[in-house]
Each structure stands twice: as C-alpha cells, then as structure tokens.
C-alpha cells in the first residue's frame, strides 16, 4: 500500500485536490525524524562507550524497537539523526539491515550525521538544511518504545491542519499512572504539568521541571480570558512522539536559540506566541508508548516489555539478528534454547535469560534480565537487575536492582547494592561491596559537566574532575581495602577492590539519585513525599488569604528589605569557607566577593565588615575552647588573610567599619572574642589592617557613647594610650 501511494502521490497533486476521498486514501509519503541522541547525560557513564539508543533493552537495542514501530506505523522514510558515537549507530543500521531495506513496502532508513549538534534544536536545523523533509513528519527519539497506532493521531493532525494552518504540532500524550504513594510518575522523569483545552485539545501550558522552587503553577490570565475552561493535568505523560508540520523545522531555524524540544520550542510557542502557532495534543487511549529517559524508566519499560504490554515488541516475537530464539515459559520467563541451567537454580517470574548463558547451582534469579553468554557461578542472587552480555559473576555474589553492563566481572562474594550502574568491563574484587547508587566506569569522569544539556561525547571530554573525596567505598569482607587516591582525585582500586573509576553524582547530587535509579524508592522518601503533600497544603493557607493581600505583600517586602545584608554576609562567609577549603585562590576570592557586593548593591565598607567577620569566624571554628588557642588561631588567620583584608581597607571609613564590626561581634554573635578584644586590636594594627587613625577615630566616637558601648574602648585603653603617645612622639620627631 505504501508503495502504491508513493508512486501515485508524486504524480497528481492537482487530481488529489479535486477529490477528497482519493486524497484521504493516498497520503504523501510519511516521513519520520529519529533522534539517535538524547542530548542528555542521564545514562552516563555507560553512554561514554556506547550511544544510548544502542543499549540493550531486554536483549534488543532500543533503536530497534523504535524503528520497528515506525515501520509498523506506516512510515515510509525515516531519517536517523546521529551525533555522539555516530559510527556505532551507522554500523548498527548497516549490520541490522535497516539501511539496505529501502525496497518496496518497507521503510527506508537514512542516517544523517552531524558532529557539532549539541541539542535537539541543532539536530532539527541540520535536518532542515538537508532539505529532506517535504511534508508532515513524525519526530521521535531513538529511545522511545511504542506499539500505538498512529492512524488516528495522524488523521487528527491532518484534519486540523486543513482547518487551521497554524496548528503545527500534535503531541502524543498518555495517561500516566501516578503512584498513590509518591504522586510520581513511575518513569522517574520530571513531572509534567500541562493545561489543555478540553474541547479543542489545544495545549495551553507546559511545564516539565520538577524543581520544587515553583510550588505553584501559574497560568497567565490571558489564557483564561480566551479559554474559560481548561484542564490542568499532572496525570499525563509526554510520550515524546510528535507529529510535526514542516513549519516546525523552519521555526527551529528561525529561532536559532531553540535547543530543547520542550523547554524551548514548546515553551516558545506557548508563551511567546510566535505567529500564533498552536500545539495540540492527542491522548493515547490504547497502546503503549514510553520513553526511556533515565535508569528508572529503563527498569519500568523493561518490565513492561517482559510483561508483553508492548506486544508485538516482545522478546519472543522480534529478536534481533542472529541470536537464537527465546521462548516464553510460564510466569513470564523467557529462556533461550541453549541456556545451561543448573537443576538447583531457580528462575523467578518475569525474567529473561539470553542464549549461551550458564547459571550454576543454587542461584536465584528474580525479576531480572540476563544477557547472552553470561557465566553465573553458584549461590548467586540476582534480584531486579539487568545483566548485559558476557558478564561473569562468580560464586556467592549478590546483585540487586542494578544495571551491569557487558563484560563486567564480579569476583566471588561481591555484593552490588541497589541502584548501582557498572559500566562496561568493570571488575569488582572478591568480597567487595559496591555501595548503593554507585556508578563505576573504566573511563574517568569528565570534568566540564556544568550543564545537563550537554552531549554524550566521549572523545571531547578528556579532562578529569576535581571531585570531592568520595569515601563511601568499603569492603564488606574481612579484607579491608584501603582506597588509594590517585592524582585526579577519583579512586582507582586495585584487584582487591574495583577496577574502574567511581563516578560522583553530578549536579543532581545523591539526593536526586533515588528518583531516577533502578532501585526501589526508599521508604523514608515515600513517607517524606506523602508528608509533603499534606503538609505543604496546610502551610500555604494562612499566607494566601485573599482578603489581606496588601498586608501580606507589604510584610513580604519588609522581610526582603532587611534581608540583603545578612544574606550577603552569609554568602561571603560561604565563599570564604570555600577558599579555606582550598578551592578558590585569593584573587578569585576577591573577584567573587566583589561580584557578590555588586549583586547585592552594597558599599565597599560593607564588604570589609563581612570579610572580616568571615576571617574571624574561621579562626573561631579552628580554635574551639580556650582563649589562648583562640588568640593564636586568630593571629594566624589574620596573618594569612591580611592581604585580603587590606584589599578592603583602603580608607579610614572601611577600617572603622571593621572595628565596629569587631565590636558588634564581640557583643552579639561571637562573644568568645570579647575578652580578647584588646589583645587582637594591636594585632590588627600590626598587620596594617587597621590604621591608627581609624583606631583613634573609633575611640573618639565612642567617648560620647553609652557606658555599655564603651566596654571595649576601656578594655583597650592602654593600647590607645600607647598609640596616642606614639603619635605625639611622631609629631615631635617631625618637628
């Protein structure tokens, strides 16, 4: 059918316009753009070695699922955009036969390669430049698993476009399954809030960041004016399958700053309202569609595949290339025909064992996928894990809820705790325990990871991070492994431990780790989340009283008004702490503090006070207990940082500021200094942080103050007296 349509579609555009029925019967060739690069770092460190789309999902590379689906959905021509590891993707396409299939009735697959694309936006700009897309096309990323029928959505899109040429995109969405406990989608991705017009299904609002900084969803009043009724959804999943008009490509080209499909393109269209273009949604009511965005969704989708929700994309129906067929047994157990399985080994429900794999005595495999050619010893427990091809697991190992890539070698007694990711060819030594949520790779962690929008480039990132010491590596056995720190700061552990680098978690931090890892969500988190739901709502209510908006506003402002200085002080202190830790050198520190000063629009003198405060605080922290040590550490700190302080004490005013600050500290925040005031003052004078002019002026000013304010002047009377005399002497000498 598709061949027929193509041959005729070329000929008679005029004829098609004449007859509606004919027109519907033979649409122009359907094209698809498949992004074989997710432009994120979520699957690191694995993606340093292999592109995400080629990672096996229940024995088959993800892209295989996507391409198979595209073909079954009636796509005539697919363009695979590859960027990172493009040669691997191309090689795969050739090897698997997709690239040659361009024959009749099947889908033609063309690889489009580009090496400087760093985002989906760049990819689409490249596609546009190639000029290969002629009509409406399907935009999908190579990590999407689906078996839905596109017919309805396509028809809807076409019909809508006929009526309204501004409807440029139809987004496929699906009802997601919010967990009653977490109110989280089970895919572990960011939660999406969208607003949809219930009648037209037009998308009015889209927000996909799960950061809790925005507790509220804010819908512009103009949207409400135009749409008296709208549906706010938190229960929808974005399938990341879009039916786009060719205008989408040109929009990306026109707006060269669009990078992210959702964050920039969709937001741009909705918020900036460029040319009035509209995005519509199509809710998927039957069929399956999900995108593998992170480890948790990898886990979830794998389970769905095993449980045959993705039929016909299931292990025993399509199997890639040469591997022998696997067969479905009872309880969702798939076993290849040539598996060597010990009689005492136990394979639990919903598990897959690949061909050529040998499993030893008394092993237990539960809810797990084991690849091809693996060797598993005796008494091994594998629970909820994904073991890829050619993995060797020796006797007595335990692997739970982890991802173990190809070629990994777990020596006897190794324990892999939940949430771990062991990348290719990593070795874990005897009786070594890999702590939960570790990521281990043979490649070092690249350094410049400041943005999550970056590429999966392995070759460009050769640097190694200065990651903070990571010391959760402990041996579980009797054999204590002392991690030897190498120059770069990451650990490489000898044969007794782990071969490979342990990656520290990036920006998201260990806190976010649970959300996206394979490991089940810990109990405390569940409770926390549940609490959050009920608590947050309560706390909102008093402040949000509609009848007293004025009062509330003013008090808010008031709080912010007096805040900046203390905030600034705090930030300076933090910056200083970092400097103490050795991360920042002195020049940069000054720069940073100056930056802060500008950001808070404060005076130079304020800086002096704040920096002085930080220095003294550091001395206090270092000293503890007795006055003697405190004096000593203070002297040390002042000596060390006098250059920094002097940088801020250029005028008498600023020096005064320091003295006043010191006084204030002694009275209020850090009373520990108060007995030492008179002893530290000379020191300040000696290090030339404070000049005698400043001290004299300070003393003069205080003369008229209250008795209580004069405590410190009195305390340092002797010193002031000495200064005065010295001054007189100076004067005399000059005379």
């Amino acid at each position: 059918m598709s061949k027929k349509s193509r041959s005729r579609g070329g000929g008679g555009a005029g004829a098609a316009a004449g007859d509606d029925h004919e027109d519907l019967a033979r649409p122009p060739p359907l094209q698809a753009v498949l992004l074989a690069d997710s432009f994120t770092l979520k699957f690191r460190p694995i993606t340093l070695e292999r592109p995400k789309v080629l990672l096996p999902l229940v024995h088959m590379p993800m892209i295989e699922y996507t391409l198979t689906w595209l073909e079954s959905a009636g796509v005539d021509e697919a363009f695979v955009f590859c960027c990172a590891h493009s040669h691997q993707v191309k090689e795969y396409l050739e090897k698997s036969g997709w690239a040659e299939k361009a024959g009749a009735g099947s889908m033609a697959v063309t690889a489009v390669e580009s090496h400087d694309a760093i985002s989906a936006g760049d990819a689409l700009r490249v596609i546009y430049e190639r000029g290969v897309i002629h009509g409406d096309f399907i935009l999908i990323s190579g990590d999407t698993i689906s078996n839905m029928s596109l017919k309805d959505a396509l028809q809807e899109h076409m019909d809508r476009k006929k009526k309204d040429p501004l409807a440029v995109m139809t987004m496929i969405i699906k009802h997601s399954k919010p967990s009653i406990l977490t109110h989280q989608t089970r895919l572990g991705n960011d939660e999406i809030v969208m607003a949809i017009d219930p009648e037209t299904k037009e998308l009015l609002y889209y927000e996909d960041r799960a950061d809790n900084s925005h507790l509220y969803v804010t819908i512009d009043k103009d949207i409400l004016t135009n749409n008296p009724s709208l549906q706010l959804h938190n229960d929808m999943e974005d399938c990341y399958i879009d039916i786009c008009s060719p205008e989408v490509l040109s929009l990306f080209t026109d707006n060269f700053d669009y990078q992210h499909l959702r964050r920039h393109f969709v937001k741009g269209l909705l918020v900036d309202d460029i040319m009035g273009y509209k995005i519509y949604t199509h809710e998927l009511r039957s069929g399956y569609a999900a995108r593998i965005d992170n480890f948790r969704s990898y886990d979830t989708v794998s389970k769905d595949v095993i449980q045959r929700w993705t039929y016909p994309m299931v292990p025993d129906v399509i199997s890639s290339g040469d591997c022998s067929e696997s067969r479905l047994h009872r309880q969702g157990i798939y076993k290849a025909s040539d598996v060597t399985l010990s009689h005492s080994a136990q394979i639990g429900a919903n598990s897959v064992v690949g061909s050529g794999t040998r499993i030893g005595d008394h092993c237990k495999v539960l809810n797990s996928v084991i690849g091809e050619g693996c060797k598993i010893g005796k008494n091994v427990l594998i629970n909820g894990s994904y073991i890829w091809d050619n993995v060797i697991i020796e006797d007595g190992c335990k692997v739970s809820n982890s991802l173990v890539c190809g070629g990994v070698h777990l020596k006897a007694g190794a324990i892999v705790e939940p949430g771990c990711v062991l990348s290719f060819n990593v070795e874990v030594g005897k009786n070594v325990g890999v702590p939960a949520h570790s990521k281990v790779s043979l490649l070092p962690q690249p350094s410049n990871e400041d943005s999550d929008e970056e590429l999966e480039y392995a070759d460009t990132n050769s640097g190694v991070t200065e990651s903070p010491p990571f010391s959760s590596m402990r041996s579980n056995g009797d054999q204590a492994t002392v991690p030897s720190e190498d120059e770069s700061g990451t650990f490489e552990i000898g044969t007794c431990g782990v071969v490979g680098y342990i990656w520290t978690s990036g920006d998201t931090g260990i806190l976010e780790e649970w959300r996206q890892s394979i490991a089940p969500i810990p109990k405390e988190k569940l409770e926390e989340l549940q609490h959050a739901v009920s608590e947050d709502d309560g706390s909102e209510d008093e402040s949000n009283n509609p009848t007293q908006p004025d009062k509330d506003d003013s008090s808010d402002i008031a709080v912010e008004d007096d805040d900046p200085f203390s905030k600034f002080e705090k930030e300076v202190e933090e910056t200083f702490q970092r400097a103490l830790g050795g991360g920042v050198n002195r020049d940069n520190l000054i720069l940073e503090i100056n930056g802060l000063r500008l950001a808070y629009s404060l005076q130079h003198a304020d800086c002096a006070g704040a920096v002085f405060y930080s220095v003294m605080k550091s001395a206090l922290v270092a000293a503890q207990s007795t006055n003697d040590t405190l004096l000593k550490t203070t002297a040390e700190a002042l000596g060390k940082w006098k250059d920094l302080l002097r940088n801020y004490t250029k005028t008498v005013d600023e020096e005064m500021e320091i003295l006043l600050k010191f006084e204030e500290m002694c009275q209020e925040t850090t009373k520990e200094f108060s007995p030492l005031f008179s002893k530290i003052l000379p020191f300040l004078y000696d290090t030339e942080v404070v000049s005698e002019d400043a001290i004299m002026r300070w003393a003069e000013e205080k003369e008229h103050a209250d008795e209580s304010d004069k405590v410190f002047v009195k305390q340092s009377e002797a010193f002031i007296q000495w200064l005065k005399e010295a001054e007189e002497e100076d004067d005399e000498e000059e005379e």
């Binding site: 409400l224 549906q231 949000n544 009848t547």
Partner: protein
C-alpha cells in the same frame, strides 16, 4: 431532611440605593411586583425545606420583613426572622446566629438569589458526597442592558466579567480550587501538590459562586469560631475550606460519621473509573485512586447547574434591571405568573386608554391606569400607578403608586414608589428614589435621583 436553612436576607444595602430605603429593605424590593425574598422562599418551599431562619440586618428591616413573611407564608413555612446588627458580612451574620444552628447540615442561601436551581438538589449532592461544604456554581449570567445592539457589542469587547475561577476534579464533583474577589483578575496560581494529588484539574472561569451553600454544621461552626476575622462566606470561608481540604488532620475528629457512607460510595465509583482506565492504558501494577482526600481531611464539593438553569444574584442596580427583564422575559417561569397569549400580564383591574399598547414581556399590576396613546415595552408597572397620555415606557421598572404625567419618556430606568414624574420629563438609564418629584420638562440621563 435534617437540614436547617438560613436565608441571608441582607438589610438596606448601600449598593442598591436609591432603590432600597428604610421603608423598603432589600428583601422586600419588588422584582416583577413580588418581593425579592419571595423567590428564595418559594424555591425552598418547592424543595420541601420548610424550617427556615431568615437573617436580616437591622431591627427595623427585620420587623418589616417579619411582618411580610408572617402574612405571606403563614401556613406554608416555618420561618423565624432574626435581626443582626448591620455590616457584619455574610459570615458575621452566620456567626451571630451560630447558636441557633442545631441540625447536622446547614443550607445557607442568599436572599437575593433568583434561580430555578432547586436547593434540594444541592442538599442531596451534599449528603451524597458527605461533603464539608457544597457550593452551587452556575454559569455567569449575561449582564448588561442587552437589547440595544450597541451596548451588547461593547460588552463583548470587554469580555464577560469573571466572577470566580474554580478548579474541579475530573468528575466535576469536587471543588479543588477557588479564586474570588479581586484575585480573579490576576494570573491563576495553583499549588502543584494539589494537582499532583488529583492528577487532573479543570480550571473554569465561566462559573460563578451563586451563594447557595450546604455546610456540615460542625465544620461551619468551627471555622466561624476559629477565624473570627472572616466576614464573607464567599470570599473567605469557602476559600479557606477549599484550601485546607488536603490537610491531613482536620480541626477535630468530629463530623465524620455522617459522611462515611457517602464517602465510600463516591470513592468506589471513582476507583472503578480509574481502574478501568488503567486497564486500558497502563500496564504493570495497578495503582489506586489518586484522590487522596480519604486521609482524614474534609472535602468540598460543587453542584454545577446546567446552562439552561437560571441563576442570578440581585446585588447591583444593573442586576436588578437584568433580573426584572429576565423574569418577565426569557425566565418567565420564575415569576409564578401565567402570561397571556401576547406574552404579557395585564391585571383585569387596570384601565387602558385608547390606542395604548402594552407589548410582550410586560406586567401591568392591579389598579393601574394608563391614558391614551401610551406605549409600554418590556417593562414592569406596579400597583395603582396613574399614567397619563403619550407616555413611553421601555425596558423599565415602575413600582407602586407612581404618577406619570403627559408626554414622559422612560427608558432603562427604575422608578420607585410614590414618585411623581411631571410633564414631558425624560429619563434614560436613571434610578429614581421613592417619593421623588421629577420636574416638568427635565431630562435626565444615567442619574440616580433621590429625595434628600
């Protein structure tokens, strides 16, 4: 039904001056020649809600209302008229009579509501859902002097005025979010947790809070007691209840027994729906209903009147005109009169001069006289009015005992009791207070005139 009904009949509202005065409190303001309060009372009677407390602001007003009620509803309703001091607000008035409330559920209705939505239906919904509060929501009524094409065009450009923004769950039973008062013109802010808890929320800006509520008594009394500053039910009490409904522990363990049966019924049906959807769409591991309301908090429900129902509050001069127009026009079933073939009502005791025409959608009450060559269109004329010749009355309300002399033109105006319009005076969009005398030949446009 164990419902106690509280009718908040107001007092002598400032916003309605000069129509209301000491002699005519708001409750007794004639709408199509019937006191305003009678619309609410008839409605309650139709729902078999006969145990009423009518709360009136001000002693004098209460006396007048009480006198009228006892004469008009002597055998039909059991009405107790209570006076509260003025300027308490709706919540304040409720607080003042809080001790008189004894039934499990309280129906609070504003005395200025003209509607054909049965309060009984709201009460039943309330019971069925075991709700803490159920509010009647209806479509925002068409406002403005309509008929004339020009002004309606202007209105369209202005867009219908937004009165409330409400958030509903997907079954449209639960009230999840409400914005009222001045905030409606701002951007809508919805707490994310709330959306997370329910999954899906429908935001509507085309509904209005009709000021007809069913409350669970204990919860209502708690709120009134704890939040002493709350003055308005619509602006404060209801939003507070809606905001606090997801809280884990309500302010005390009471009031749950009544709701239990209702709870389970609603939730199970919700579950069924959810489950069936999950069946189709989502694979592995079923999850239970996302409505987390079951964990102890109360719930706020909404009864949404269908579009065909009439629902309007008389709280401004404009709405007074609108309601009069509608009651004798498109919503004529509300008036309780039977209209003639010409779609109007002319009392047999009235006298019409020659060549005088009374158009459709008019009411001419008993004892009124019209001279020759008069024309009345879409207007209400009260009792015992004396109208001379060549008078034109269009889109207006003329109350009782009004004297209109030759050649007067009245358009879009309200003329109160005992007003005298001298010869050839012209009124357009005016309100004339009781007893005022409009001098001969004067012309007034969009003015409010009252005796000093």
């Amino acid at each position: 039904m164990d419902f106690q009904v509280v009718v908040l009949a107001g007092g002598t509202s400032e916003t309605l001056s000069p129509l209301v005065s000491k002699d005519v409190p708001k409750a007794l303001l004639p709408v199509a020649n019937r006191p305003l309060l009678s619309y609410a009372l008839d409605l309650l009677e139709a729902s078999d809600l006969k145990d009423l407390i009518v709360v009136v602001e001000g002693q004098e007003a209460a006396r007048l209302v009480g006198a009228w009620v006892s004469s008009a509803y002597l055998d039909r309703l059991c009405v107790e008229v209570l006076a509260v001091s003025e300027d308490l607000g709706s919540a304040g008035a409720l607080r003042a009579i809080s001790k008189r409330l004894t039934a499990n559920d309280i129906l609070v209705i504003s005395g200025d509501l003209v509607t054909d939505v049965l309060p009984g239906a709201v009460a039943a919904t309330h019971r069925r859902n075991g709700a803490a509060v159920t509010a009647l929501l209806c479509s925002v009524p068409v406002s403005g002097p309509s008929e004339t094409a020009s002004s309606s065009g202007k209105d369209k450009a202005k867009k219908p005025n937004r009165l409330n923004i409400v958030g509903l769950d997907k079954t449209k039973q639960f009230l999840l979010h409400i914005v009222s008062g001045t905030d409606v013109e701002k951007d809508v802010r919805v707490h994310k947790r709330k959306i997370q808890a329910v999954g899906q929320m429908e935001i509507r800006s085309d509904l209005m809070d009709a000021h007809l509520y069913a409350f669970k008594r204990t919860i209502l009394q708690d709120v009134l007691e704890q939040k002493e500053a709350y003055r308005s039910i619509r602006l404060e009490v209801l939003p507070y209840l809606v905001r606090s409904q997801l809280r884990s522990a309500p302010s005390g363990g009471h009031g749950t027994t009544v709701g239990e049966t209702g709870n389970s019924a609603v939730l199970s049906s919700g579950n069924l729906q959810c489950l069936s959807q999950h069946h189709v769409i989502t694979p592995s591991a079923f999850k239970q209903d996302a409505l987390s309301r079951s964990h102890g908090g109360h719930r706020c429900c909404a009864y949404i009147a269908t579009k065909s129902k009439y629902c309007h509050r008389l709280n401004s001069i404009q709405s007074y005109c609108d309601i009069n127009r509608d009651v004798i026009g498109e919503a004529s079933h509300l008036s309780g009169y039977s209209f003639s073939a010409q779609n109007n009502i002319i009392h047999p005791s009235s006298v019409l001069g020659s060549k005088t025409t009374i158009g459709p959608h008019c009411i001419l009450a008993e004892g009124s006289q019209l001279g020759d060559k008069c024309s009345v269109k879409r207007s209400v004329i009260g009792r015992h009015c004396r109208i001379s010749s060549n008078v034109k009355i269009v889109n207006s309300v003329v109350m009782n005992h009004v004297v209109i002399e030759d050649g007067c033109h009245i358009q879009g105006s309200v003329v109160c009791n005992n007003v005298q319009l001298q010869e050839r005076s012209v009124l357009k969009d005016c309100q004339i207070g009781a007893g005022y005398i409009v001098t001969a030949g004067s012309e007034h446009k969009a003015e409010s005139l009252a005796r000093k």
